[in-house]
Symmetry: C4
């Protein structure tokens, strides 16, 4: 069967991967209610298409923190891509570079950041950080990331502790253990005698600590996971460059099957094609024309 | 089993047709959400029937753009009827003429417009046009349609590009290819040496181009696919004679099984009978009495 | 399995009856949407129970058009009870008399009205009338009913024509034919030479004809099937004694399995017991205390 | 399979227990609509988590009627724990004491109150009372409970009569009979010659009778089952110390499988851990910080 939409890729991946790998990727916290809510909320959004506009040329390009991308599509950060295919984040990086969109690399990668950069030197990448209790480690990590050419620092704020992922617990795939064993040091640092620090997110990180990051890097800072207007206002007050609204629920399937790299590229191209068609069918020539008027608010 | 409602005919057709033919007819764009929404929206409409009115005589006749029809039922335009039965649109035209309702003929017919008219010379027909990039072709087509006795021009505005129909992609039934190969010239033109132009809808057609049609024909112009009040207001401003509210979703099953002509007639008669019963049960003697008061708006 | 609720009786009846009998009893018009809506609407009603009230004595008795019944429960009119068991409406009448509630007898009974009265002479009964086109027949029928001791005339207004009941059409159980053959004359009249008139409901009966009934009987008149406030106001204006709000949908299962009489009585007793428990759990000592305050309107 | 959430424990219990025991524990009144509504209502509650707060120390402790507990979790009263495991309420008491939460003991226990207290002398316990028609019995029971060290009297107000529990009726497990046979006298009283009184809840208990309890004990009085603001206002007016909002529906699964005591403790620990995680993920350091602001009211 040909794979013509993301659901096809998802079904194919489920069939190819081992149960524990699938559960890790698909994994929902607790009963998966938030995730069903996410999907249901998407389906409730009705468009108000405008017609009889010239859509012979539709341009999906836009910019994100000053960098041009081919479409407003990013790869969300997710951990340990080698669970799905051996080449891990190297394939992800190559596919993202080829399609020219932004790849937000996770703190918890299967290969080193240096390997990822080497695999696709020209791609746009941001770095997603789980803040570490060890501030020296935070500093070395952020400065290393900036030196490697990442263009923004995405700080996850909605995971001060790890949520309950039942399938992982059932599969005895101890997420905390994997995360604690992840070595966040650079290849060079590993050759030194410093012991690898544990790498669980810090539960004490708070608004007052943000300035620490602002002094150690010139990268724009994005807070990932903000959900309330109160926190959004605090973000503005603390001079962050952006917020990333997300409920961390049902981590979108952005890493797929065994031919690795080709699949990622194919999925990204499907998303781009769907966006292109939707823009044409809604009467939008460019990303700038996509406005709230296109949404039928009364039905939300 | 006797076929007593449209669902019965649909089930029977599914059983008789090949999978690819069925998918083509039933075909929904993307995930079919809009189509499910259409059906759900119909089910949410609650009537407010009025009783103790004399309904011994119920008259379902009405007029449409000045022409009398036996009931406010039309056959929506759909492509390539020969996918369902060999005689294609000729059968559709004969059934519509016999029941005396309006048959909106698609741009993409299996047989020539001349054949359709010859099959049922006395029937009321409108012509649905996918605007072509070649304006000479548009003009020849519209004037030919007017000369053949079609009574209105229905211009589809919600398909500047072809939506994603996943089942067709899976069946390798390349819709674009079929459409591109469709020869929109008259039989006479084909005998001349002119090469058949491709026939994909024009993505650049817009409000300013409407006047071109108004100068080339005296037929009333109906815009099919308008969904927003903004576009409805623009239609009035551009002096079109009608709008056809539709989301193109879940193309209604109006072409059915293999005994072809008889089935179409039967389906139309069921629709008429259901309308007749519903009018009697709601206390309406004539189509003119069907008013918004019959709908329980608060529940929508 | 013991039968402890109405769903149990329904499941048992379905198992015992032939498919065509079951479909006739269960029969829904068209797609059964109204019926599902009825059930869903009931489930949306939330009670606001009041506690710490003395409910050691709960009295379910009430009056209906001046007659005392043991609980506000009536048997709705439904046609041809002999479809479910041989003794037909005679059993229904005996069970209703024993439980002391009101049995609304249908125009279309399997046995004569005289037989029904003889089976349970002391029971409270109303007569449901499908108005006939033959006014002489209407008059003879109403006066016969009054003479037989029926206490009210329930005129059905929502069936000027017969709705589409698909299962009956599929089972070739021609409802119209059965109804047309029903002989509405008294046993005596049948011995005379008058030909039995057909008995389909009159589609021309309207508000102006109501006074005809008011001159031919002193029985209170109830209009069954009113659904809009406009029609309710007209009913008041025309001096009818009551309206019976109903959408005729999903005719309640009031005729059940093969031991016939015992089953009906059992079902009525379950309903009475459920009412008694619900009144106690809501803090109501008598039917008069059941007020709109008990309903959580905001959730409807 | 490891048991990682309450649903796992529930599935395991269902598998281990006999059908009649399971139905007794799971038992819903009538059609279980209220219970489904309860679950659906819980799922509709959306949290508004606040981030970037120091949650390295989360304290789930709180007080209830002046007593400290390790988390705002109580064991709701439920009858006859020996249906699930031989040691009955003794195991429940020991587990509650170990986790340091409040165990509300039911009127209808499998073993004597003296046995329960002896099993876990240091645990916090309240006593749930179904008011008895025999006021002498009520008085002896309440004073005995106070003497045994229970810290509050929870009077159930929503069960003046027993609701219909269909599964129990089907299983011939006659709840009323069991309840009537329950001997509410102390071990000493049983040695006297007084006949055991029946023990069905009193249907005549009402607001005016409350003062009787207030004169016979100094324990705080909580009314369980209040559902309307009118009744809540009457409770304040009658000087009760608390109300326990509950619809008695779908009695939460608080008694589980055959290893008895260990299971209860495990379930309580899971609840505590889930609360701890939820507080951290919502930015709450202590129970006092859990405020209505955390709930997205507009979506309810």
């Amino acid at each position: 069967m040909s794979l013509v939409c993301l659901e096809d890729f998802k079904a194919y991946a489920r069939q190819q991967l081992s149960k524990s790998s699938w559960d890790f990727i698909e994994g929902e916290a607790d009963e998966g209610i938030t995730r069903s809510d996410n999907i249901a909320a998407f389906k409730r959004i009705h468009l108000r298409p405008r017609y009889l506009r010239d859509v012979s040329k539709v341009d999906t390009r836009t910019t994100i923190q000053g960098q041009e991308i081919s479409a407003p599509i990013c790869i969300s950060p997710s951990a340990f891509h080698s669970v799905a295919w051996p080449d891990g984040e190297r394939s992800t990086a190559r596919a993202a570079q080829e399609v020219n969109i932004c790849y937000i690399t996770s703190t918890y990668t299967s290969c080193t950041l240096e390997d990822i950069v080497a695999a696709a030197p020209g791609g746009l990448r941001w770095f997603q950080l789980y803040v570490q209790p060890d501030w020296e480690l935070n500093k070395r990590l952020v400065q290393r990331v900036e030196a490697l050419g990442f263009k923004a620092l995405v700080i996850t704020v909605d995971a001060p502790v790890i949520g309950n992922r039942r399938q992982n617990m059932r599969n005895q795939l101890n997420l905390e253990e994997n995360i604690m064993l992840k070595d966040l040091r650079s290849p060079e640092e590993r050759n030194s005698t410093i012991t690898a620090p544990t790498s669980l997110p810090s539960p004490s990180f708070c608004w007052d600590d943000l300035s620490m990051f602002q002094t150690m890097t010139r990268l724009p800072i994005i807070l990932k996971g903000i959900l309330t207007k109160e926190d959004a206002e605090l973000a503005v007050k603390h001079n962050v460059q952006g917020i990333y609204v997300s409920n961390h629920g049902g981590r979108q399937l952005d890493g797929v099957p065994a031919s690795g790299e080709y699949g990622v590229k194919e999925v990204l191209n499907i998303l781009k094609a769907e966006l292109h068609t939707s823009m044409a069918l809604s009467g939008c020539q460019s990303v700038a024309e996509i406005s709230p008027d296109l949404i039928q608010f009364s039905r939300l």
